[in-house]
């Protein structure tokens, strides 16, 4: 038979277990932010450089994102298998980013209607995703990344289309990679 719990022991046990569950649920160490941050910023810089070199089809660099989508989804499925838990936070974050992703695809599909000003719109979508993620995981630096992306979106609207790729690349380095590496360290 197990011993009778006192009220104080009960409360301690509850607190201890809740914090254990929280620790397990603490995100993925910034993996997705780093993956997308590197991939998208490099594609932006690549597009900018190829366009400056007057290459005919600078947009070919974006095909590099196809395997990245695969890695991202695979990693998303693997995480609950490693930790043995599924949290509401994980599922809310997945749904948020799924919708951001769908939004980006729609913007890309209609970029000619947008007069190829799709980059600032994509930055706005990413900014909402990053800021909300920061608010949910309670990380100020991620929220800052979101704000930075929004400012970059605003600046982009005043730039020529080719230069928008450079702005987007820099914005993603600061808005994604800086918070991503901080999460990894923490």
């Amino acid at each position: 038979m197990e011993k009778e719990l006192t009220s104080k022991e009960s409360l301690e046990l509850i607190t201890q277990m809740i914090s254990k569950a929280k620790k397990t649920a603490g995100g993925d160490g910034g993996f997705q932010m780093l993956l997308w941050g590197w991939a998208v910023s490099l594609c932006n810089f690549g597009h900018y450089i190829l366009a400056k070199l007057e290459y005919d089809a600078p947009y070919v660099v974006w095909t590099a994102l196809i395997p990245v989508v695969g890695v991202s989804i695979w990693h998303g499925f693997k995480k609950p298998r490693q930790t043995g838990v599924r949290t509401h936070l994980d599922s809310v974050l997945n749904q948020l980013w799924l919708m951001v992703f769908i939004g980006i695809i729609i913007v890309l599909a209609f970029m000619s209607q947008l007069n190829f000003y799709q980059n600032p719109v994509i930055l706005i979508l990413a900014s909402i995703g990053v800021f909300t993620t920061g608010a949910m995981v309670k990380e100020k630096l991620i929220k800052f990344g979101g704000v930075f992306l929004m400012v970059a979106a605003l600046i982009s609207f005043f730039m020529p289309i080719t230069e928008q790729y450079l702005v987007a690349g820099i914005a993603i380095v600061i808005g994604y990679l800086v918070p991503g590496y901080t999460l990894k360290k923490g």
Binding site: E2, I14, V85
Partner: protein
């Protein structure tokens, strides 16, 4: 007069309370996770999970991952309410 209501005997047990406290913050957790965090034996944990399931506090799903059996547990709405009133009662004892 605020009377001391008796603490729910189903929750006032070390292992069952530990399991409920873990599940309250999660969507679902695997048996192996609960076993590791509570440092219990598989046998004892199975018995306690069974009691919680019979009371309607948790939902236990048995499936397979590849060829290995996989047991996942999830707190029910009834379980959440029971846990909340247990904590409320506990506060009265401590005050």
């Amino acid at each position: 007069m605020s009377a001391f209501s008796p603490l729910d005997p189903l929750l006032h047990s070390q292992l069952r309370l530990a399991v409920m406290s873990l599940l309250i913050g999660l969507d679902e957790a695997e048996f192996t996770f609960l076993k590791g965090q509570t440092q219990s034996t598989a046998g004892n944990l199975s018995v306690q999970l069974d009691k919680l399931e019979k009371a309607g506090y948790i939902e236990v799903t048995k499936s397979f991952r590849g060829k290995r059996p996989l047991t996942t547990c999830k707190i029910t709405q009834e379980g959440v309410s029971a846990f909340e009133s247990y904590v409320e009662n506990l506060k009265k004892y401590i005050e």
